[in-house]
Each structure stands twice: as structure tokens, then as C-alpha cells.
Subunit: 320 residues, 2 copies
Amino acid sequence: MRALALDIGGTHIGCGLVEDNRLLAETSVESEGASSLASLLPVLTEALRRLLREAGTTADQCDGLAIGYPGIVDARDNKIHSTLKKYEDAPDIDLTAWVFESFGLPLRIENDARLALLGEQYAGAGRGISDVVMMTLGTGIGSATILGGRILRGVHAHAGCLGGHLTAKFDGRLCHCGNIGCAEAEASGWSMPLTAREWPDFQNSSLANVDKLGFRELFTHAEAGDAVALAVRDRCIHVWSANAVSLIHAYDPEIVILGGGAMKSGAIIVPAMQDYINRHTWSSWGKAQVRTAELGNSAALLGAVPLLLEEIPAAPAQLR
Amino acid sequence: MRALALDIGGTHIGCGLVEDNRLLAETSVESEGASSLASLLPVLTEALRRLLREAGTTADQCDGLAIGYPGIVDARDNKIHSTLKKYEDAPDIDLTAWVFESFGLPLRIENDARLALLGEQYAGAGRGISDVVMMTLGTGIGSATILGGRILRGVHAHAGCLGGHLTAKFDGRLCHCGNIGCAEAEASGWSMPLTAREWPDFQNSSLANVDKLGFRELFTHAEAGDAVALAVRDRCIHVWSANAVSLIHAYDPEIVILGGGAMKSGAIIVPAMQDYINRHTWSSWGKAQVRTAELGNSAALLGAVPLLLEEIPAAPAQLR
């Protein structure tokens, strides 16, 4: 099967042409300054047409177009149910009509984390595994879940993709989502600097001189031996591990796939989280295995074919 | 449909004869001193035969026997995969043969919390709702989940029933299950007295004179105005609420059913948890509703008919 794919992000939009589990061509469109999704559609149409031309093919050689969108999205009714601050116009755009008019293709749209997990399970770290949880450790903490070989969606399309918003510390920090002490509010790209700055003796840490504190800087300063950086890094890994245990106890997966920007330090993160999971999950069979995502930014694009192939059950009444 | 049912607990075993959503007859067998499940089988056979006689019916008027067992159990292969300290002999007993030889009936066995939720969804607080999470606030914190009208089991039969072992405080107390800071380790019948005794000024609290501290005593002393009892009670409700938010974010249910011994104080617990959920869950549709379990100790017995009626999919390869 051949398909077009879009992975809509806040700062750029990935565009791909895929054939089964291979990426034939890929490009990226900047979206940082865009005020609406509608304003980007002509650019995206052009980018996808260029990919088709460069690969020496045409849209009528493709079977569909898949879109990954960062919000509450459900492939069962092909709708965006909720946006997350960016592209507020998206739910009102008739994307099905745009895709059909531009390419003569059917559209399927899904939450971007679910689409990325479909890609990893089809062509990456989850090949051949029927029960998988994915955690994306980046600016936020994203998640998606496949149970019994099927993407978990839930009755209002929330299930599986809010894993970063399970509580990690019930008396912790208020999260953007409204919950208190979510894993994301305790150890994500946006919350980690808040934790670091509140750390005792932060002023004497080498981190105090860092202009824009991200995971890259945190792990570098920890490696260099800074005590505060080490403590904050270990606290992040502890929170992620505790979150992984919650996800394993909730969903009973065979493996946990880790992706996202923090995984540049995967060599430290993966063994530490595996060790924590081995010591602290309850199990009657063995321990879920931690794996590094293999497809990077291409994961959602490579989710296009399994999403288009999926026999989609009717949407629950609540979504209609 | 008419069925026999057993709800196997640590201190007693509930025995029932049910017809559809009605309990025709019910009794209870003491099991506190029993060293093995095998030693109880003759007593259970007799108790069920007596129920049949008293109801003026016979086993051949029934369609099956359902057992709820407190451990990792899976109706897909009708096996007990893991016990929890009591009845260590249970996985090796051929219960299918016992039921057939004693009553000429087919057996289905399931985790007790899942069976109780099946009962509540069929005949109690969850009637007509397809997506339900149940929390049982007792000595431990039990849970079960129905998604899209089907009991969630997961590939190793762990899913849905370990909800009390999602992390609530990543740097909290070590749980019997091996995890750190589970909801159960922070606010259950066994862990609450540990929290109370560590509370500042516990020695001056009226709780210090309580011989055997349980939720009944905690809520009574809190009502009477004892400051430590109030603080510990509110902390328990906070932990349960944070756990409910995790379960809602994980499973996307319409309602959360609360059962267990602590619910004798449901008049205080339910509105407090509903308020927390309203303020702290993220949702694109509305807020999951908190409901009190309606069937008490009969819930698992009333789960017999829906369990026997369920079209059971083949067990995952991992369970065979």
C-alpha cells in the first residue's frame, strides 16, 4: 500500500510519501508563525505534490492520506474533538473535502501520538508485539497504547493518549491539563526547569548560568558532575519510571517504547527505567521491556499505512 | 438465565443462586481458618446444594457456575494465574472438573473485582453504561474496568484490576505489590494507620486511643472534630481522588463506581471526589460521574450471568 502522510506539529509539519513500511520521500514545512491551519493547506498541498513528483508517482497510485494531529482526534469519526492551543480553526475545517479535492484520496485522521505508535508497531521498535505502550518524553509527556493489536481509543477518544497526565505526586505541581502532580507537571520539558530552579542550592549550580534549560543541558551538566543537575536528572528518571509503572499496571503491555527529545540521553534513561520497572512492577509473568523508539520523527508518517489498513469500528454514540 | 455463583474472599466465601439480575438465594461460608481451597470444596458443594433445595430448584435448571477469585484470573482460559498469599493451592485445583462432577455445569472463573463490576454494570450502579471504572476502597484498593461494554483483561490478564497500584506519590511508601507510592500504599485499610501514626501530633489525637484503627474509626473521629483524624481523612480522600483522575485519564470512562468498606462514609467521600474530578480531570466532553456501588457484597454473585453470557475471545498466546 502507498500513502501520503502529514504529521502536524506546532513548529513544523512533517510530510511523507510511504509505501508499506518504507518512507519513499519526506519533507518538512515550517509552521511556527502560522496563525491557522487553513492558511497552511496550500503549502501542504504543494509539498505533498512535490514529494509525489520527486518519487515519480501520482496521487492516484496512492490509497489514502493519513494525518496525525496533536489533540483529541478519533479515526472512527475522522474528527478533531479538541485542539491544544494551536490551530484553533482545525476542528471546523473539512479536511476530508480538502484531501479529496486536492488528491482524490480518502482521509484518515488520528491523534499524533497514536499515529506514531502505529508506525513504531508496524515498522519500528514494536514490530510483532500486540500489546505496547509508548511514552514520548519531550516538552510534554505524550503516550499511546495498543492492546491486543488494536489502538486503544476509549469512548470519548481520550484513552491511551493521556498517559503523561496520570498522577505521579498527588500533592505536586498544578499541570496545564488541570490535574495536580501529573508526570508531565513533575518531569517534562516545560516543568523540569521549574523543579530545577526551586532546588536547594540552585544558585550555586552550573545550571544557574544556562540560558535555556532543556533536557540536553540537564544531562550534560549532570554528566559533568554538577550535584543539582544530577539530583534533578535522577528525579526526572524517577518520575518517568513511576509513570511507566502506572502505565504497565493500567494496560498490561509487553513493552514500553520511549521516544521524544529526552531520548538523546537514552543510554542513561533506558537502563535506569528498566531497572526501576524490574524492581517495582507487580507481574505474574515477567517484566515489561523498555525499548527505544526507532523511527524518530518519521514514526507518525510510517503510521499512515496501518491506520489506513485498520478496520475501524463504528464510532461510539458519544462521538457521533 | 439461572446460575450458581461463588465469591471467594479471605475471611468468607459468598455463595449465591441467581436468575438474570436477581439474587434468588444467598449464603456465606467462613473461610478465615482454612489453610487451602481444596479443604473448602466439600463445604461449598453442600452450601450451593442447600441454596438449590431452598429455592426449590436443581442444578440442571442452571446454565453454569461462576467463580470470583481474588488474584490474577482470566475467564478466557478459565485459569488462576496468580494467588495473593491465600489459597496457594488454588491454581493447581481442577475447578472445572469439580464443578462438572458436583453440579454437571460448566464453570467460568474471573478475578473477583472484574466479576463485581460485571454485576454492578448488569444489575447495579452501572446499568446501561458501556465504559465504567470501579474502585473498591477497603483493606486494599481494588479496581476493574469495562471499555466499550467489554471487561478489560489485557494480554497477561493484569489490565484493569491493578488500578489501586497506579502511582499516587512517586516518593511515597513501598507497597506490598513492589511499587512505591501506589494509591493502596498511601490510603488503604492497611496503609492508612501507618500514615496516621506518623502524623505530627498523633500522640495528642483521639486516634491514639483507638485499638484497631479502620476507616470507620477514622471518619467517626474526624466527624467529632479531631484535627489529626480530619487531616488523615482528607489526605485519604485526596489520594483516592488523584487515583480516580489517573484511572479516568487512562481509561476514559463515563462513570466511576465506588465500593468497599470505606463507602460506609460515602456521603462524605462521593461529593468530595466528584468535586476533585470536576476540577482536575482534563476532558473534551464533560466529567466522569462518581457513583456509589449498589449491590454491596452481592455484586460479584450478580456478575455470574453476564460472565456466563459473555462471548469470550480466545486467550492471547501468552496465556495458553
